[in-house]
Amino acid sequence: MTLDELAAHMRVLQGAERTLRVARRLFALGCALFYSAVSALWFLVYHAPAGQTVLLCLGLVLLAGALPVIPGAWLARRRLWKRRNRLHSVLFAQGLRVDEAGRVVTNEPHPTLVYDRAMTGDRATGLAGGAHDGSAPGCPHCPVAVRPVGADTARSGAAVDGSWLVCRPACPAGAGGGADGLAGADAVDGCRHRGAVGLADLSQ
């Protein structure tokens, strides 16, 4: 999987998450409508209060609205749930996960930031195979707009507490880890490379 593919994958995943949220709310709404309709009709049957025609019409309208929504939303929810899980499992199989802030990081206690749409934005499509343009702050080698992870740990609450940056495998400084095995903590000043785990693994 290249970075382009990862970006596309994340777009699909985020779309699926959004639609799933809508389907869930629709299903809950359908259930609430159904329950209100049945309660209203049951109440009518037992008590026959004043203004029963209005209540009857209201109950029937609610029922008519709820009946198609519930199975439709339920099916959509089920399919989207499966799709979302499948998309996550692709990342999981690559040793990656999506953190609470929506970033792709390695699935480890000390994760490496692999992809952050908020930082790369639309440039993501131009990243894979692109030449080093030195545009990334802090890293003269990487075209990926990267920055230390952890500055917003408190906000996101994610377990990201390292400060690794990601380089493409082509990045000479990011080709290997540091001597102590701590993922190249001192590879380049201002930039902590972890090329060995980063995108190299994604291409498997």
Binding site: F43, P109, A154, G157, A159, L182
Partner: protein
Amino acid sequence: MMPPAAPLRLLVLLLTAVISLRYIAWRGMFTLNSSTLFSTVLAVLLYLAELYSVVISLLGALVNSTPLRRPALTLADLSPGTVLPSVDVLVPSYNEPAEMLEVTLRAALRMRYPGGRLRVYLLDDGGTDAKVAQPDPEKAAAALQRRAVLQALCARLGAFYLTRPENSHAKAGNINHALRHTDGELIVILDADHVPTGDFLDRTVPWMVRRPEVFLVQTPHFMINPDPIDRNLLQSFRRMPSENDMFYQTIQKGLDFWASSFFCGSAALLRRAPLMAIGGLAGETITEDAETAITLHGQGYHSVYLDRPMVAGLNPETFTAFVIQRMRWAQGMTQILLLKRPFMHPGLTWYQRVGYMSSLLFWLFPFARLIFIFSPLAYLIFGFDVYNASTMQILAYTVPHVVAGYIMSDMLFGRTRWPLISEIYELMQSIFSLRALIQVVANPRHPSFVVTPKGDTLEEEFISPLAKPFYWLFAVVGIGFAFGIWRFIDDPVTRDMTTVVLVWNTLNFLTLTAALGALVERRQRRASPRMPAQQSGTVLAAGAEMPCEIDDLSAGGARLLIDPAAPQAPKRGEIIRLSAPAPQMGRTVTLRCEVCSAFPVRRKLALGIRFVPATEAEASDAVALAFGDSARWQFFLDRRIRPIPFTTALSMILGLIWQPVLMHSRMFFAAVRSTCVSLLRQGSAHE
């Protein structure tokens, strides 16, 4: 600092609260008119139990409406030149083994903090003068030997050993004695089995430095082994939030927002000055921690709750030990409710009173829980009309209340407490806690501190000695079904109500059946539990290096996965060296190990290894590798804290209830067989 609450969340909580209040008002006004005096008494009891549940839900909703997540602060965030306060680490101990204490002391000594400003004390209550001089010579000799062993251990590690003349006031008395003999500005209290990570002080001390009004920084108790109910029944320690996750991952954060997060006895940093001003830890009740927090909150001091697991502890291994622990908590919290009366304690703000009342009233759940078990039986077996409502009313009032309660609970605690699972935990504690609570209510000063046994090994499966009340309850609920079916056929007029009550009884029956499964104590041979590591390393064997994955890890050993095709794969009994990065220490550690087993697993060769450190530094490195990294604990927690839908929880329970029946029948037949065999042997011996 305080994040704004999500408006939708607050709106939903408000709506669910209104629905529940509407229900409880309707119940109180229209459904308590029973046919006989005795029925009325039972109906009122059931109503009180429901009222209690609604009050607890509403208090819980208020307390947890806006959980507070504190930002991460470290010593590096302090301005340069800040003088750091001196820290004393106090490890109170009563009867824990030296091996367990050694791990805790080594980890405490390895916490990152400027040299000379950290001192670690072992407070031994098992080797006091009174214990050494007790009349029983065997026990006196054991106490003397314990004292000598622990003194030698402390001298070897660089910790300080403290004991006292007598054992008055249990743990609180032990700590207060140490406070008089130490002088650190800050105090860390760690239980004997609570192993801190390297960054504990790095992340907690800055709060004390920056905010002088803070008297307490509490952190979660992260348990590295399943509790007995999980181990015996659920077996999902790695996949399901544990029982105390609800408190530490949700409730304490909610309490923190209302400035009422409280001291939990361990894994906390305290400021000495305010503590000494009130004469040390309070000792009026057996939960000295919460009692002390109430007193200091009342004096205007603040507390901070840091939601990062930085102390790894042990759950009790057996159901008996679990019950002992929970009874102590229930009794202690009820003592505080009766003796300290936080609802009128001077100095507390209204929201602190609400926070404390929410935490204290929760422990009265055994009363409500048992009423909910017996009420349907009163109707099904004896025909008492304890719940006077028509099906229409149940649909209009009860069902929305139940749904609203579920939505509220799911919204507040869905990630840390799965539906139905909590029912099992509460039911299993209820029977024993009820008796303990009645004792406290009768005599609030009566209970005494009982130490929770930990670190046991269980050689074989057996049925818990506390199982008998559950068998009785199981039989009675089963009889309720028989009567319910008879009532359903016999009385068509009340068929609707009978159906509703039968559904209620079914839920109770499912919970009880599952509870039976937790009473079969499963084998546990390992005293020191292994935790998943997910870390890479290098094995050095016979002059060759080979990469490995560390699959799991404890202070005593690990399981490594290596390539089976490696030319010099280590054999059983071979001495190798394991080299692995220890991120919290910022370096790679190398440990001497003995291969205890080698077997294929997941297309790899698994090596079971035991650490055999050659030096003291290497032994400390092993502890630091196993327990030093809080990111590992956080990672583990993040994997299992997630919500599941009600249907999944129900299918989980339905899948579990067959196990108890099978296990109990298997053990029953095994017991019958062994009895028959022994009788036959006796008979043949007589002949």
